[in-house]
Symmetry: C6
Subunit: 312 residues, 6 copies
C-alpha cells in the first residue's frame, strides 16, 4: 500500500468530450431538461467565469457584489435520486454539452469503486487523496496565460453515500470518518486551487450524505422515476420498431407506471435494460415479437424497489 | 496467504458439458420450464450473439438499436428463491442444454465456499479476484479467430448473499464490503473482456444482495416451492415403485402441500432427500414399505422452514 | 499455533464399541425407541450399504433408483432438543448397538470444546480441519479389499450451535463464519471420501444451526423432556431401593411433570443427576431416606429452564 | 505475558482451615442452615466418599447404584443470589466446618480478579488455566497411599458471571468465550484428576451463567435477602449493646424489611456494614447513641438495589 | 506520524485582525448584536482584565470579590446553533472588533479538519495536543513586561461536536474519548498558562458536547435561523440590485420564513449561498432576472433541514 | 508507555492542608452540613481510629464488637449527585477541616484525566496502578512508630463513572473492564496496607458505577441542587454588593429555583460561575449594574440540564 496508487486503481476509465457517443446518450435523456440546464451553467462558469461578470454588467450593472456569491461556491454538485432515475447517465454525458458550448475539451474521471479500499487503516484516505491530487494536477495543466483555461476536469463520484456517509450516524467507523474528512478536504483543495475542475456526486441516499458535504454543494439536483410522458419517450421508438401499435404501446406505458399496491413504477433502467430485452428474448429465436405477449411481460415484471434510506 | 490460491481452494470441482449425468438431472427438473428457457437463451447469446442480430434482421429489420440493449448487459443472472426450490440444481445442469444447443463445450466452475476466507484482512478480496482471474483466463483461451468462441465458461456462485451482501446494512464489516467490491469488479471485468463467460448467482435472500450487484443482473429468475403438479411429478414414479396406489400417492401429494398453520409446504429437497429416504428406512430392513405407514411419515414430517430474510 | 494440534486438543476422549458400559447406558435410555431405531439404521448403512440394495431387490425390485436417494445423503445426523433430554446420552451409546448389529468395531470421537479455540484468527478453522482430517484418516484405515469396511468412526459434536451457528445472524463474527465453513467442508470431505464415518451433531438450538448445515443433514431427530411414563421408568427402581412405596413414587413422578406456572417439567438429567442425589444427600449421613421428605425435596426443586433460542 | 503467572496474580490470598476467625464468621451467619448443611455434605464427600458407601450399605443396602449418581457429579457448586445475601461469606468460611468435621486441613484459593486479565488475546485463558493447574497440583499432593486424602482444596470464584457468562448472549466476545471454555475445561480437569478439590462459584446473575457451567453444577444453592427473623438475629445484639430497647430494635427490624414502593429490603451487608456503622458514626465522637436518632437513620437509608440481570 | 505535525496540518489558515475584509463581513452580520456584544466583552477581558477591576472600583466598590468569579472562568466560549445561523461567520470576524477596541493585533487559528485524524490510535490526541501547544506558544510570545499583552490568539474549533462528543454516549470509541480528554486538557492548559488566548467552539449539536467541556464554558451563545427582519436585511440590497420591487422583495422575505408543514425556514446560508445564486443562474446567460421567476424559485427551494441531534 | 508514568501524568496537582484558600472555600459551601460532618468523621477515623475505641469505651462499653464493623470498611467514600451540586468542591476542601481537627497535614491527590489513557491496551490499567502505587507509598511514609500517623493522603477521583463504569453493561470494552478491575484492586490495596489513605469518588452517574465499587464504599453521600435557602446564601452577599435590594435578591432567588416546565433549577455552579458573571458583564464597561436588568438576565438564563443517566 506504500506505493502510489495507479490511475487504474483510482478511476474506472477516462472519458473525453466532445464525443459522439455521449452526445447521443445525452440526447436520449428525456425529461431532465431542468437538471441539464442547471448543471451546464454551473460547469460552464468554471471555464468561463467572465460570462457571468459580463451578464451582470449588461443586465444588472449595480449588482456586481453577487458575482462573488455565485462564483465563490465550492465546485461541487450533488445529483440525488432513486436508482435508475438517470442521474449517473446525466453525469456521464453532460460534459459533452459543456464542451460543445464552451468549445474546449472536458475530461471525466469516474472515481473507481476500489477507492473504497479493502478496509486497511488509512487506505481509503490515501486512495481518495490520490484521486483528488490527480484531479487537481490535471486541471492545473489546463491553466493558460490568457486566464481562460484550455479545458476542464470533472471528477465523478457515483454511489457517493458509501464514501461520504453522514457523521450523524453514531456508529460510524473511524476508517469511514477518515474517508469523509479526506473527501471534504479534497473538495476544499479543488476550490482553493482555483482550477477549472468540478466534482459531481451521485447518490440515492441524500439523507445519508454528511452535512459538511451537503453544505459545500453549490447545487443539489433532484431526480425521480420517469413520469408517463418520460416513459412514453423511452418506449415509443423501440416498441414501434418491434411492431407494436400506438394503443399497445400506451398500454405498456400505463402498466409501467406507479402501481397501486407498490406506490412506485418502473425506473429508466427498468424500461431500457430489463423490459425491452425481456420482450426481445421471449420471442427470440423462433418467432417475431407478439404484441400481446409483450404487454403480458410488462405486466408480470416487478419494478426495482427504491433504495431504502433507513435499511440497517 | 501470499502464495496464489490453488484451483482447489477456489472451486469445489469442475464440470464439463455435455455429459449424461447433468442431462438426466436437468430432465428430472419438472415445472421450471420458464426458468430453463430464459437461462438457455441468455447463455446461448454469449456464445452466439450473431443469432440475435440475425433474428432482428429477419423479424424486426428496423430495430437493430435493440441489439445493443440486449447484448450490452453484464453476463450476470441471479437465481433467487427459497431453499430446496431447485435453483442450484438448474444452475448445475443448464450448461448441458446450452452445450447441446450451441454444439460447443461448456465448463462450470462452482465457486468454493473457501473463498469466503477465514477472516484475514484482504483475504476474501484476494480469493475472489483470483477466481475471476481464472474464469477470464479460461474463457480467453476459448476465443477463436473466426469470432465464434470454441466454448464457454460459467462461474457459479451458490449462497451468494454471504459474498454479495447489501451495503445497505449499516453494520457491514469492512472486510465484507471489500468482498462485495471485489465481486462487482469481477463481473465488470468479465463484461469488459468480452469473452464467452457468464456468472450465475444463487441466493435465498434476494433482498440481501447488494443493489450494485442486482443492478448489473441481466435477469433475475424467481424460484418457488413446488406446486401440486410439481410435487406429483417428483413423487409419482418412486412411490409407485414402492408399491403405493394412485390414491395413496395423491394423498401424499396433498399432505406435502402448504399446510394451513405454516403457510408453506415441502421443498423439492424435502420430497427427494428427506421424505422418500424416510419412507424407505422406516421399512428397512425387515419389511416392505407399508403404504399407510408412508402416508403417516409424510404427515408427521415438517417441511423445511423458509430462510428468514430478516433474521438477525 | 503452527504446530499440528494434538489428539488431546481435538477430542475429549476416545470410546470403542462394543463395550459393556455404553450397552448398559443405552439400555437405560427409556422412551427413545424411535430415535434409537432411526439412528441405528442410518449408521448401519454406512458400514453395510449392501443391506439396503438387497432389501430393495427383495421387496421393491423396480425401485433401485431409490438406493442412491438414500445412500447419497451426507453422513450427518442432527440430534436436536432441550437440555437434559437424552440426546448426548444416545449419541454416546448408540455406537454400541450398531457395533453389535453389524459385528464390527466402532470408534466414537467426541470433538473437544477446545476446538472452539481461544479467539485467534484462523484457529477454529485449523482445529476443526484437523479434527476432520483425523476422522477421515481413521476411517480410511478401516477400508478393506472386500469392500465391506472393518469398522466405522463416529465424530460427535456436542453443543454444536456454537460451532455451526447460522449465518442468518447478521452480526456474526468472521472467525465464527470461518468455523461454519470449515465445518461444512469437513462434512463434505467425509462424504466425498466414501469412508464409513458419520458425524453426529447435538444441539439445543436447532434454529441457530446454519441452514447449510441443516440442509446437509440426512435426518434431524427431535428430543423432548420425559413424559410421565419416561419419568416413571427413570425413577421407579432407585426410589424403590431407597424404600419408597408405589404411591409415593407416583407422587414424585407427578410432581416432576410440567408445572402449571412454568409449562415445563424435569429433564432426564434433573431426575438422575439432581433429584436423586438431593434425596440421598438430604438423609446422609445420619438417617435413612424419609419418603415424605423425598417428596418435599422434589416439590421444592425447580426444573432446569429450557435453553432460550432467542436469548441475546 | 509469556512468563508463568505468579500465585499473587492468580489468587487474592490463601486461607487455611480450621481457624478461629472463619469459625466465628461462620457462626455469625444466621438463617443459612440449609445452605450450610448441603454445602458441608458435598464438600465432605470429596474427602470421604467412603462415608456415603457405608451409609448406603447400612440404610439402603439395595441401592448401591445410587453411589455413582451422587459421586460422579463434577465437584462444582454454584452459590447464587442477590448482593449482600451472605453467599461469599459462606463460601469463605464453610471450609472451616468441613475441616473440623473431617478432621483434615482445607485450603481455600480465592481466584483473583486479575484473572479476568486486561483484554490481551489469550490472556484470560492462560490465567484461568494456570489457576486450575495450581489447584490440581495442590490437591494431588494431598493424595495418600491409604486412599483417604490428607486434605482438600477449594477454588473460590466470586462474581463468577464475568468469567462464565452465557454463550447464549450473541454478542459475546471471542476472548470471553475462550474464558468460558477454559473454565469448563478446568472443572472437567479437576473431575478427571479425581483429587479432593472442589470449585465454588458465587454469582448474583445466575441467569448469566453459561448453561454448560450450570449443567456441571452438582448443586445450585439459592441465597436471598434476610427475612424478619434473620434481620433480628443480625441486629439484636449490637443494637442492644448500643442501648436500644426491645421495641426500638423491633422497629428497626421492621423498617429494614421490604419496602412497599421498592419491593426489597436491606441485605445482610446493608445491615452490618452500612446501617450499624452509620448509627455509630452519627453519634461519634460527642454523644452516646440516641435510640430515636438510630431509628431515623434506618428510615432514611435506602437498601442496595438488586443487581439487574438484564441491565445492558 | 512520529514527526511533529506541521502548521498546515493543524490549522486551515491564519487570519490576523484588524483587517478590512472581516470588518465588512462582521458589519453584514445583522441581528446578532447580543452575541457580538457578549463575545467582544469576554475576549476583551482577556487582553485587558484591568478594565473590569476599574469598573468594579468605580461602580461597585464593595464587590471586588466578583472580579475573580468573572476572570477565573476558563477562556472558552461555545457558539451553538443550527446550520447556517451565522455562528461560524461571527467566530471568524469578531476578532476584528476586539482588535480595534483594544488596539492590538489578534490572530485567529481555525483548527483544521485534519486534526480528527485518520483513525490511527493516539493520532487525534497528538494532533490536538500539538494545536494547543502552538496556541499557547503563540500567546506566550505576546506577553509583555508591562503586564498588558501585546496581542491575543483565538483558537477556533468549528463543528466541534465531532471532537468533543459527550462521553454520555455509551458506545464511544476509545480513540474519541482520548480526543475529548486531550481537548479538555488543552483548555485547562491555556487557562493555567494565563496567556491572552481563548478558544471558540462552534457546534450545531450542543447536546452532543461532553459535559466536562460545557462545564468549562464561560458562556454559551445561542444562534437561531434568521427572523423576518434578519431575512429582510440579508435580501433587500441584492434583490433590489437585481431589479425587484419592495413588495416583490417582501414576498420573498415571507416565503423564506418558517413553513407551515416543516416548522423551519431558510438559514442565513440558504439565503446567501443558495437562493441568490439560483436566481442569478436561472436568468444567466440570456436574460435579465425576471422578478416573478425569482419568487417562484424561492417558493420551490426547500430550506436546509436542521441537524438531527439524535440521528443514529 | 513502558516508562513509568510521571507524577504530572497521574495527578492534576497536589494540594496540602491546612491552607487558607480551601478553608475559605469550604466555609462558603452552604447547606452541605450533613455531608461535611459524615465525611469529616470517616476521614478523621483514618488518622485517629483510637477515637472511636475510646468513644465506645465511654458510651457503650459492651459494644466493642462494633469497632471492627466500622473500621474494617474499605477507605472509600462516594460523593454522588448532579452536576454543579458542590460535590467536587467539598471533596477538594474537606481535607482542610480534617487537617485542622486532627492537627496533622493532609495531602490531596486529584487523579488526572490522563489516567483514562488514550485507548492503548493495558494503558489505563498501568496508569491507575501507578496512581494507587504512589498513593500507598506516600501514605506509608506517614506511618510513625507511635502508631498515630503523621499525616494522611486523599486520592480524589472526579467524574469517576468513566473509570469505574458498571460491568452490568454488556457491551463494555475489555480495556474498560480492565480499568474497573485495576480500580477495585487499588482500593483493596490501600485497605490491606492499613495506611492512612482514603479514596474519594465523585460521580454524577451513581447508577453507572460498578456494583463491586459501590459495595466497597463505606458511605455514599448524596448531593442535590441548592434549595431556596442555599440559593439565598450563595447570592445574597454578591448581589447586595452590586446594589440590589432585599426584594430584588429574593426575586432572583425565586427565579433560579426549579422551573415548572423543566422540573429543575440552577446548580451551585450556575449561580456562581454563570449568573453572577453574566450580570457583571452585561453592565460592564459603561454602566453600573441595573437591578431590573439583573433579574431579566436570571429569567432568560437556562439552568444546566441534569446529566442523563441513561443517555446512549
Amino acid at each position: 500500500m506504500n506505493a502510489r496508487p495507479t490511475l487504474d486503481e483510482l478511476f474506472e476509465r477516462r472519458i473525453t468530450y466532445p464525443d459522439f457517443e455521449p452526445q447521443a446518450r445525452l440526447a436520449r435523456l428525456v425529461g431532465l431538461d431542468e437538471q441539464k440546464s442547471r448543471l451546464t451553467k454551473i460547469l460552464g462558469l468554471l471555464v468561463n467565469p467572465g460570462g457571468l461578470e459580463e451578464w451582470l454588467r449588461n443586465h444588472h450593472p449595480g449588482a456586481q457584489a453577487l458575482l462573488d456569491a455565485v462564483l465563490r461556491r465550492p465546485p461541487l454538485v450533488v445529483l440525488a435520486g432513486d436508482v435508475g432515475s438517470g442521474k449517473t447517465e446525466l453525469a456521464e454525458t453532460i460534459g459533452d454539452a459543456v464542451a460543445r458550448q464552451e468549445k474546449i475539451d472536458i475530461t471525466l474521471l469516474p472515481l473507481s469503486l476500489s477507492t473504497r479500499g479493502q478496509g486497511r487503516v488509512g487506505e481509503m484516505t490515501q486512495l481518495l487523496s490520490a484521486a483528488f491530487d490527480y484531479t487537481v494536477a490535471e486541471a492545473t495543466r489546463l491553466k493558460s496565460t490568457s486566464g481562460r483555461p484550455r479545458g476542464a476536469v470533472i471528477l465523478l463520484v457515483d454511489e457517493a453515500d458509501a464514501l461520504a456517509q453522514s457523521r450523524e450516524t453514531a456508529q460510524m467507523h473511524h476508517e469511514d470518518r477518515a474517508g469523509v474528512n479526506a473527501f471534504i478536504r479534497g473538495i476544499d483543495r479543488i476550490a482553493n486551487a482555483k482550477v477549472s475542475a468540478a466534482v459531481l456526486i451521485c447518490t440515492n441516499r441524500l439523507g445519508a450524505l454528511d452535512p459538511a458535504v451537503k453544505r459545500r454543494a453549490a447545487d443539489i439536483l433532484a431526480f425521480a422515476r420517469p413520469d408517463e410522458s418520460q416513459r412514453r419517450a423511452v418506449l415509443s421508438k423501440p416498441l414501434q420498431q418491434l411492431g407494436l401499435s400506438k394503443p399497445q404501446i400506451e398500454a405498456i406505458v400505463a402498466t409501467t407506471g406507479p402501481q397501486k399496491d407498490l406506490g412506485y413504477g418502473f425506473t429508466f433502467s427498468d424500461l431500457a435494460q430489463r423490459l425491452l430485452p425481456a420482450i426481445v428474448l421471449d420471442a427470440y429465436p423462433s418467432t417475431p415479437v407478439n404484441p400481446s405477449r409483450a404487454l403480458e411481460i410488462a405486466h408480470k415484471m416487478a419494478p426495482t424497489p427504491p433504495f431504502q434510506e433507513n435499511a440497517s
